[in-house]
C-alpha cells in the first residue's frame, strides 16, 4: 500500500502515541511498546504503512543522535577511566561471541566464510535498545550500565574493521570490488576527519555556540545543534566510518563545554522521536511469513542466539569481576542482535557473502532477539533482581559515613544565577569541593568562570528541560540567586512544581519579596540586605562603645526576632490577601509595627544569665554565697 508522507508520519506518530503509554502502564517499557506498535501497523496486521525500509534508514539517525548525547554525558576524563571495560570487556565479548557462533554454524555444516560472517554480524548488540532500556530504568550509572555501554562502544568501533573484513569472505570467485581510493589514503582521511572533529569541536564549535547563544535565539541554537550532528554524520559516512562513532566523538569533545546541557535538551526530543520511529519500523519489518513457514527453526535460532550471547556475556562479566547481580543485568541487557546487523547483512548480501535465504532468516532472528530484550529485562526485574535485593540491604547502610558530604553527582547543588550574590555562595561551596552546577544566561560571566574550572552552564533556569538536564532530578538543593525578583518567583514555582524533592534556598530582594517566596514554598529565604544591615548596625553599636560580644549578641537577637516576625507576617498576610494590594501602604504599616515590636524585645532574654544579684535578694544561705562568689570570681578575672 502506498501512502503520502503525511499519512505515514501520522500513522507512525499515532501508533507510538497509542502504544507507548499502554506499554509503559503495563510495565513493559517504551521500546517494547514501539515494537508492538510496529507489528500492529505493519504489513502482517493492519498494513497501514509502507516503505518501512526507507523509514528505517532515516530513523537510524536516531541512533546517531543517541550516541551524540551519550558522548555529551562522557567527559574525556571519564572516557579514559572506561578504557579498560571498553577494550577488555568489549573485546572479549566480541571475539568470544564471534568464535562461538562460528564454531556452532561450522558444526551445522555451513561454509566457514558464511559462519564467520554471521558470527561477526550477530556479535554486535543493539545500542538503541540497550541504551534506551537502561536509561528508562535509570541504570546507566550502575556497574552493569557502565559495562554495557563500554561493550556497545567497542562494538560501534568494531563495525569499521568488520565492514572491511566482510568482502573478503566471499565464497564464489567474484571480482572483488576495489575501493577507488588506496587504503593508506583512506586511513589518512579517517585520521583527518577524527582529528577535525576533535580540534574543530574545541576551537570552532564552542566559540560558534557562544556567539549563537549570545544572540539569544533559541531556534537558531537548536538548528546549530542539529546541523552539527548531521554534518558530522555526513563527514564520517563520506570516509566510510560509522556516523554514530563520529557524533559520539563530537559529543565527548563538547562534554566539557558549558553548552552541554543546552545541547542535550535541544537534541533529546529529536533523538527520542527518531528512535521511536526506528523501533516501530523494526517491529513492522518482522517477516511473519518466514516465521510461520519455519517456526521451530526460527525459535531455535532466536533461542540459540540469545543463549550464546548471554553465556559469553556472563563469562566475560565473571572474567572482569562484575558483581554477580550486576552481571545478570549486564548479560540480559546485551543478549541480542543489533541494528548494525541489518546494515551489515544488507552489505554482505550486496557483496554476495550471504545468500538471500540466509540473509532474510538472519534479519528475522536478529529482530526477534531485539524484541525479546525488553522481556528479558522484565524477567530480570521480577525474578532475578529480587533474590539479590533480599541479601543486600544490611551492608549498604554502613558504607557511607553519616557526617561526610557525599561527593557523587547525585547529591549536588544547583545554583541558578551567578551574579554577585550567587558568586559568594558558589565560591564558598567550591572551596569545600561541593558538587555545584551553575545555571547562568550571561555569556560573559560563563567564560570568566570557566577559567576557574567552575561547572557552569548556559541557559534559562526557568526552562523545565534545562532543569532536567542540569540534574534537578538527582540534586539535593536548589539555590535561586538571580537578581530579578519576578524571575526568582517564576523559577521557584517551576522547581517546586516539577521537583518537589528539592530543598529550595532563595534570595529575596526585600521583606515583601521574602514573604511572597515563603508563601510560594521556598524552604529558606535570605534577604540580600538583612545580613549587611545587621553587620553595619553591630559595628555602629561597637563604635558607640558597646563591647564587641555584646554588640554581636544584639545583632543576633535582632536577626532572630526579625526572622520570626517575617514568618509570622508571611503566614498572616496569606489569610488576608487583599491587604497586599496597596503595597507601599502595607509596607509602611509593617514597618510601623516592627518598630514597636523591636522596642519590646530589645531587652534580650539574657536578664538572668551571667548575673545573680540584680534579680535576687542576696540571701545569706549557702547557695546565695556561692553564687555571689561565682560572680565575684568572674568579674575579677
Amino acid at each position: 500500500m502506498e501512502h503520502g508522507v503525511l499519512f505515514n508520519t501520522f500513522i507512525y506518530l499515532a501508533a507510538g502515541v497509542v502504544a507507548v503509554p499502554i506499554a509503559k502502564r503495563l510495565g513493559l517499557g517504551s521500546v517494547l511498546g514501539y515494537l508492538i506498535a510496529g507489528v500492529i501497523v505493519g504489513p502482517y496486521a493492519l498494513s497501514l504503512i509502507s516503505n518501512q525500509q526507507d523509514v528505517m534508514h532515516v530513523a537510524e539517525f536516531g541512533v546517531v543522535m543517541m550516541l551524540f548525547l551519550v558522548g555529551l554525558e562522557l567527559r574525556p576524563a571519564l572516557l579514559w577511566q572506561l578504557k579498560m571495560p571498553i577494550l577488555g570487556t568489549g573485546g572479549l565479548q566480541l571475539c568470544a561471541t564471534t568464535l562461538f557462533i562460528f564454531l556452532l554454524l561450522l558444526a551445522c555444516g555451513l561454509a566457514w566464510q558464511t559462519s564467520l560472517a554471521i558470527g561477526l554480524i550477530v556479535a554486535l548488540s543493539s545500542t538503541a535498545i540497550v541504551l534506551q532500556n537502561l536509561q528508562e530504568r535509570e541504570l546507566m550509572k550502575t556497574e552493569a550500565g557502565k559495562n554495557a555501554f563500554a561493550v556497545l562502544l567497542f562494538q560501534d568501533i568494531a563495525v569499521i574493521p568488520i565492514l572491511s573484513i566482510l568482502p573478503l569472505l566471499v565464497i564464489q570467485d567474484t571480482t572483488v570490488i576495489e575501493s577507488s581510493i588506496p587504503s593508506w589514503q583512506s586511513a589518512l582521511m579517517i585520521a583527518g576527519v577524527i582529528a577535525g572533529i576533535i580540534i574543530g569541536g574545541h576551537f570552532l564549535v564552542v566559540p560558534l555556540l557562544r556567539i549563537i547563544a549570545s544572540s539569544r535565539s533559541r531556534e537558531i541554537f537548536i538548528a546549530t545543534a542539529l546541523a552539527l550532528v548531521v554534518g558530522i554524520a555526513l563527514a564520517m559516512e563520506a570516509v566510510g566510518l560509522s556516523a554514530a562513532l563520529g557524533t559520539f566523538l563530537a559529543g565527548v569533545v563538547l562534554a566539557d563545554s558549558e553548552y552541554r546541557h543546552e545541547l542535550e535538551s535541544d537534541i533529546e526530543p529529536f533523538k527520542s522521536l527518531l528512535l521511536g520511529i526506528f523501533f516501530i519500523s523494526v517491529g513492522a519489518s518482522i517477516d511473519f511469513n518466514l516465521l510461520l513457514d519455519q517456526p521451530i527453526l526460527v525459535a531455535l535460532l532466536v533461542g540459540g542466539l540469545i543463549a550464546v550471547k548471554f553465556i559469553v556475556l556472563f563469562v566475560t562479566g565473571i572474567v572482569f569481576k562484575i558483581q554477580r547481580s550486576q552481571n545478570w543485568l549486564f548479560s540480559c541487557a546485551l543478549a541480542q542482535g543489533g541494528e548494525f546487523a541489518f546494515v551489515l547483512t544488507s552489505f554482505a548480501l550486496q557483496r554476495q557473502v550471504l545468500d538471500n535465504e540466509i540473509a532474510s532468516l538472519l534479519v528475522l532472528v536478529v529482530t526477534l532477539s531485539m524484541v525479546f530484550t525488553p522481556l528479558l529485562l522484565i524477567i530480570y526485574d521480577k525474578v532475578i533482581a529480587p533474590t539479590f535485593k533480599r541479601r543486600l540491604p544490611q551492608q549498604e547502610d554502613k558504607e557511607t559515613p553519616e557526617h561526610q558530604i557525599p561527593d557523587d553527582t547525585d547529591s549536588s547543588v544547583i545554583i541558578a544565577g551567578f551574579g554577585g550574590f550567587g558568586q559568594v555562595v558558589g565560591r564558598l561551596l567550591h572551596g569545600y569541593h561541593i558538587n555545584t552546577t551553575i545555571l547562568e544566561n550571561d555569556v560573559g560571566q560563563i567564560e570568566l568562570l570557566q577559567q576557574f574550572k567552575y561547572k557552569v552552564f548556559y541557559g534559562d533556569a526557568e526552562q523545565l528541560n534545562l532543569l532536567h538536564s542540569a540534574g534537578a532530578d538527582n540534586a539535593k538543593l536548589f539555590i535561586i540567586a538571580v537578581e530579578s525578583a519576578s524571575r526568582t518567583k517564576r523559577i521557584l514555582i517551576q522547581v517546586k512544581k516539577h521537583f518537589p524533592h528539592l530543598t529550595v534556598l532563595a534570595r529575596a530582594t526585600d521583606r515583601n519579596h521574602a514573604q511572597q517566596l515563603i508563601r510560594l514554598g521556598a524552604d529558606h529565604v535570605f534577604r540580600e540586605s538583612l545580613d549587611s544591615g545587621i553587620s553595619l548596625g553591630v559595628e555602629t553599636l561597637k563604635a558607640l562603645g558597646m563591647r564587641a560580644n555584646q554588640a554581636h549578641r544584639a545583632g543576633q537577637v535582632f536577626r532572630r526576632h526579625d526572622e520570626a516576625v517575617l514568618h509570622e507576617e508571611a503566614k498572616r498576610i496569606h489569610e488576608h490577601e487583599p491587604e497586599f494590594v496597596n503595597r507601599s501602604l502595607t509596607e509602611r504599616r509593617i514597618l510601623k509595627k516592627l518598630l514597636g515590636l523591636d522596642a519590646l524585645t530589645y531587652y534580650d532574654n539574657l536578664n538572668d544569665a551571667w548575673s545573680t544579684e540584680a534579680h535576687s535578694n542576696q540571701d545569706k544561705n549557702t547557695v546565695g554565697n556561692l553564687a555571689a562568689a561565682h560572680k565575684h570570681n568572674k568579674s575579677s578575672s
Partner: protein, 190 residues
C-alpha cells in the same frame, strides 16, 4: 519510665573517634531526646527559654562530651552559664530542677591508669569532673556516677567502640527504668 535528655557537645564530629558511635546508638529510642548543641547553636546563641523548657520536660539529664583540657567543650559551659539561671536552677526560688538527675557521659584520650594518683594525670577522673558534681549540688540535681570511655587515642578500634556504645545504650535504658525511691528518701532527709 523516666524521660532522658541528652545534651551532646562535640565541636568536630567529623573527627570523632567514639562519640559518633555513642550518639548514634541512642537515637530513636522512645523517651530519649537527643539534643546536639553544636548543631542547634552553630553560633553559640543559645535559646535559653527553649533549653529551660526542655529541662522541665525531662527527668534525667545527660551531658555527653569528650573531655577537652579536663573540661567540657565550650558550648556546654556556655549552656550552663546561660540556661542554669538564678531563679530557675538555683537561688531562693530556683528549684525547677529539684529531684532531677544528672549523668555525664565522657570520653578521655588518656587511659584509665593515667587517671590515678600514680598516672600522669595524677588524679582520679572524678577529681576533674568536680565542677559538674558541685553544680549538681547547687541545682539540687542528683549527680549519678559518670559513664566514662577511657583511652580513646590508642584504643578506638570499631569493635571496642561498638561495645562501648552498646554499654552506653544499656546504661540509658537502665536509667529509664531506675527506681527513684532512693532519691525521694534522700530529699526527705534534707
Amino acid at each position: 519510665m523516666h524521660k532522658i535528655l541528652v545534651l551532646f557537645a562535640h565541636p568536630a564530629l567529623q573527627k570523632s573517634l567514639a562519640h559518633k558511635s555513642l550518639f548514634n546508638e541512642i537515637q530513636h529510642i522512645e523517651g530519649i531526646t537527643c539534643h546536639d548543641l553544636y548543631d542547634a547553636y552553630p553560633d553559640s546563641f543559645i535559646d535559653i527559654k527553649h533549653e529551660q523548657a526542655l529541662l522541665l520536660q525531662h527527668d534525667i539529664i545527660i551531658f555527653q562530651f569528650p573531655l577537652y583540657w579536663y573540661s567540657c567543650p565550650a558550648i556546654l559551659k556556655e549552656w550552663q552559664d546561660l540556661v542554669l539561671e538564678h531563679g530557675f536552677a538555683y537561688g531562693e526560688h530556683g528549684n525547677k530542677l529539684t529531684g532531677k538527675k544528672l549523668m555525664l557521659a565522657v570520653s578521655t584520650g588518656g587511659s584509665a591508669n593515667s587517671y590515678s594518683a600514680s598516672g600522669y594525670n595524677e588524679h582520679d577522673i572524678n577529681a576533674f569532673l568536680l565542677p559538674f558534681s558541685q553544680m549538681s549540688k547547687i541545682c539540687n540535681l542528683e549527680y549519678l556516677p559518670p559513664f566514662v570511655v577511657h583511652d580513646i587515642h590508642k584504643r578506638h578500634d570499631p569493635q571496642r567502640i561498638a561495645r562501648k556504645a552498646e554499654e552506653y545504650r544499656q546504661q540509658l535504658l537502665r536509667l529509664q527504668q531506675m527506681d527513684d525511691g532512693a532519691v525521694k528518701t534522700r530529699m526527705e532527709n534534707n
